[in-house]
Every structure is written in C-alpha cells, then in structure tokens.
C-alpha cells in the first residue's frame, strides 16, 4: 500500500498525538512536542517503508519528542511554568484530565498515555519505555488508579 496523503495522518491521528503529548507534558511543551512530531514525520514520510501502523509510528515519535522535552526541562535551571489554569488548553474538554496527570510518577504517566490514550499494546509500551509488558501493565493500572483519585470530571465541561 502506498502512503496516503499526509493530510490524512493529521486528520486521523493529530488529536490522539496531541492527547499523548498533553498527558506527558505541560501545555506549552505539549504543543512543541506535537509540532515537532509531525514535522519529523513529514520529513521522514517519503522514505517510510511500512505504512500499516501509522498511528503507532506517530505515537513512537511523539513519545521520543516528549522524553526530549523532559530532558531539556531537567537540564535547564528555569523553573517549570505553573500548570494552574484550565483555559490554557484551547478547544479541549479534557483540560482537567491533563492537569490530573501532573504529579504522577513518569512510568505511570507514560504507561497510561501510551496504552490507554494511544491504544498501544503493553508489549509496545514496554519496548518504548525500556520495561517489560507486565511492568507496563502494572504501571498503567497504578496510573489509572491514581488518576481516579485526583480527577474530578465535573470540573471539565
């Protein structure tokens, strides 16, 4: 199968990639990671051999960009901008959900983002995070439990 027009990737997978970025990062970092993900994907697209799992491909790039962002943040001395207000997530009804991710241990955050949001199987999550499928499953379950304690959906529209 020849690769579809790139517009279709934005159309079909743009939102899920943004959700993965928002679950892993602060709002501005998430926007940067999203744009960098699709820019990298666009550059590599003509050479892409296997187009059977475009979503998995994009989520893999997004995860790598998010890890880069976190590393950059940890390397810099500037403090993180506070995550306070909900309206920093324009056109997103899940702003409160993204704020609930803040404070989750990184492994749980990654496992929930990659498995529950992006729909990757635990084996793929384990490959991306340098873990095992069993550990990824545990991290996702712990993450969902922690979110359930923190998240108040009535605060979202």
């Amino acid at each position: 199968m020849s690769p579809p027009p790139f517009e279709r990737l934005l159309d079909e997978h743009g939102a899920v990639v943004l959700r993965v970025c928002r679950a892993l990062l602060t709002v501005h970092e998430a926007d940067d990671a999203w744009a960098e993900t699709f820019l990298s994907a666009l550059r590599a697209y003509p050479q892409l051999k296997d187009t059977s799992n475009l979503r998995g491909w994009l989520v893999t790039i997004a995860h790598r960009k998010a890890v880069d962002q976190i590393r950059r943040r940890q390397g810099s001395s500037t403090p993180l901008p506070d995550l306070g207000c909900v309206d920093r997530y324009p056109s997103d009804d899940d702003a409160g959900l993204w704020q609930s991710f803040d404070g989750l241990p990184p492994k749980q955050r990654e496992a929930v983002a990659l498995h529950h949001i992006a729909g990757l199987p635990y084996r793929a999550v384990a490959d991306l995070t340098g873990s095992t499928p069993a550990a990824a499953r545990r991290a996702a379950a712990d993450g969902v439990a922690a979110l359930r304690r923190k998240y108040r959906p009535e605060e979202d529209r």
């Binding site: 517009e7 934005l10 926007d31 550059r43 959900l97 969902v144 959906p153």
Partner: protein, 200 residues
C-alpha cells in the same frame, strides 16, 4: 467516576481538537523548510467544488468533484510525493483568479504551472491549448494540425481528457469539427457553461 468511564475518556479523541494556531505553525514551518511537497485547497465554483493542488514551482493539478478529490490526492501521493497537506496559502492566487474568471472579470490566468504530470505529445498539446484565447473555439483536428501532427486527432482528445489543469489550460475551448462540444472531464454541462460564460 468508575473504572470503565475513566478509561473510555482516556481513549476518546472526540474531546480534543487541534487548535488552528498549532496546525498553522506546523504547516508554515514545513513550508519554509521545503518539506511540504504539495499544498491544496478546495474552491467553490459554478461548475462545482474545484480541488487546487500546487507544488513550490506552481499549480500542478486542478480537479472537478466528479474525478473524486480524495482519489486525485491519493494518486498524487503515489505518483509525485505523499507529503500533501491542505495549505490554502499555496493556491490562494489561483483561487482568486478563478473567482475573477467565473465573475467574468478575467480572461487570462497569470499563474506559474508545474506541468510534470504531462509528458511528450500531451505536453505539446497543452502548449497549443494555451494559445486558444478567451471566447475562442478550436477543433480537435485544428489542434492536431497546430502541433504538427494532423493525423493525431484522437491523441489530442486524450491529451485534453488527461489535462492536469483544466480551466486554466483551456481544453474546454476544443470542440468537435461538427460543432458539437464534445466530452469534458468536468462533464458536458460544465463545458457548455464555460463556453457560454466566455461567449457572453
């Protein structure tokens, strides 16, 4: 909130839209670093929605809705480059000039063309078509003669039928020798409409 609810919410994409500014930022960066091969937009017109596709070099493809816009984009992804994104800025001049044409305010298109979809004799025919002025008509036989291959009447028909840039390269001005208007990629009705527009 119980477990399935939260998990469903996590998996649902319906609640998150890509902000316009974020998409625009991506497209303009891609455009400036030249990783965006083809940009497109759709323009409304009296002959139905028109798909306009341009490379950095110029307008590459114009398609009527009956050709299937999605199918045209898929074919360009395969033949030219899959880095195709909706990018109205790329085709805004073409879109504006078409609007002026349909309002009767424009007789020539002043646009850069990227003609890499046409080769050989078909490309030569496209060159001849551009010499047929607004409001004029030529027969398939006359176009064949003008290319120096008077016997190639059918091939001229094929070249017109496969014109990648109808309207702006005016294959609608080529009609049959018996006076009937002949076929058209946009449909015979569209061809009649264009001839009437230019004749009025």
């Amino acid at each position: 909130m119980n477990a399935p609810d939260l998990e469903t919410r996590l998996a649902s994409v319906a609640t998150s839209a890509i902000p316009d500014g974020l998409r625009a930022r991506l497209i303009s960066t891609a455009d400036s670093e030249q990783t965006l091969a083809l940009g497109y937009d759709v323009a409304d017109s009296p002959v139905g929605p028109l798909l306009l596709v341009a490379s950095a070099a110029g307008l590459l493809r114009l398609a009527f809705v009956r050709e299937g816009h999605e199918a045209v984009l898929e074919s360009l992804a395969e033949r030219i480059d899959p880095r195709i994104v909706r990018h109205p800025v790329r085709v805004e001049t073409a879109k504006r000039q078409l609007g002026e044409y349909f309002e009767g305010h424009r007789q020539y298109f002043d646009l850069a063309f990227d003609l890499r979809l046409a080769r050989g004799f078909r490309l030569a025919v496209l060159g001849e078509l551009q010499r047929i002025g607004y409001g004029m008509r030529a027969s398939y036989a006359a176009v064949a003669a003008a290319t120096g291959r008077p016997a190639a009447v059918r091939a001229v028909g094929t070249a017109c039928a496969t014109n990648p840039l109808p309207l702006v390269i005016p294959c609608h001005r080529v009609v049959r020798s018996d006076g009937t208007i002949g076929n058209y990629g946009g449909g015979a009705e569209a061809k009649q409409l264009l001839l009437d527009l230019e004749g009025g």
